[in-house]
Symmetry: C2
DNA sequence: TCCAATCGTAGGTTTGAGCCCACTATAGGA
DNA sequence: TCCTATAGTGGGCTCAAACCTACGATTGGA
């Protein structure tokens, strides 16, 4: 009896964009997670650092809404970043319920390192694409986001 | 004090392909999961049905390797599909350890329905892209897969 | 001054993906 | 015949993502 190639994926599935997107996205996420795990960090930490670097100090509540992360989880992430001094926490004197979170020099260094790691994953994951194609993909994904906000 | 737009995501993150890929992929996966949950099904079930439809009957072990799913999980999925009669199980007489799994007419109907659901998610997720752009995205993703196999 | 709403925080729970082990039945070569 | 490897299966485990709840501190309006 003829045996089909036992590792080929079903063409039916390969024709579905959301399937390809989900699979490659998951792989990318896992690879990033692996690299960050060595530093005891997760995606959340990088997201928080990036938000602080891009937009300046935030109250935790604002980080929560911006990144769509539960407030209680933000608190934990900030805790872990504040320990090693990657972010600073100060009471907001204008509203003493709020805690203003600020990125430190050490936090910026860490962010740069994390970005290098993700760039490496990007390279390995997209090794099949030329630089021009990567830009193309990037543009398409941004379009997807622009249309799908704020659900996405 | 000026307040920045509190929902904009950090541009630093939006510049990373693997981040966009991971986020949109996760969203797509969640939406598909939501729709399938109404039928008591998951991605796995669709994958199995697609594999059977595309390549014909499989021993469970072959489904496992083809879809990169643990054999014990395949057994559970097959169990759930066999209950309502979407797949048939017969001992392989050439090797009585093996169970040959075959898709039934009802299974094909179910698959068609599931594909309709995923197509709907595809449409909503990629509503920002023109049909030509969707094809472009599809081509790029296939390239990514072709290069990243078999890790992906 | 009082009360409802908001912020940060601690301590959970839930859910699902993915994995692992043990066991039975069977196959196939030494 | 015996021994090792493989197929399917049942029962579990682990881990992380994502929530939820309750509480003290604080705010701002009635």
């Amino acid at each position: 009896m003829e045996r089909v190639n036992p590792t080929a994926r079903p063409p039916t599935l390969m024709g579905i964009n959301v399937y390809l997107l989900s699979l490659s996205g998951k792989t990318g996420r896992d690879r990033v997670a692996d690299r960050l795990a060595g530093l005891g960090l997760r995606m959340w930490h990088m997201s928080v650092l990036a938000a602080l670097a891009d937009f300046g100090p935030h109250a935790q509540r604002d980080l929560s809404t911006r990144l769509s992360v539960d407030p209680s989880d933000v608190a934990k992430v900030i805790d872990q970043l504040a320990g090693p001094g990657h972010v600073g926490r100060t009471r907001d004197d204008a509203d003493r319920r709020r805690v203003l979170v600020t990125i430190t020099a050490s936090g910026r260094e860490l962010l740069a390192r994390l970005l290098k790691e993700t760039a490496a994953v990007d390279d390995s994951l997209l090794s099949g694409l030329t630089p021009a194609e990567r830009d193309q993909l990037h543009g398409l994904l941004l379009k997807v986001f622009a249309a799908a906000r704020p659900q996405l």
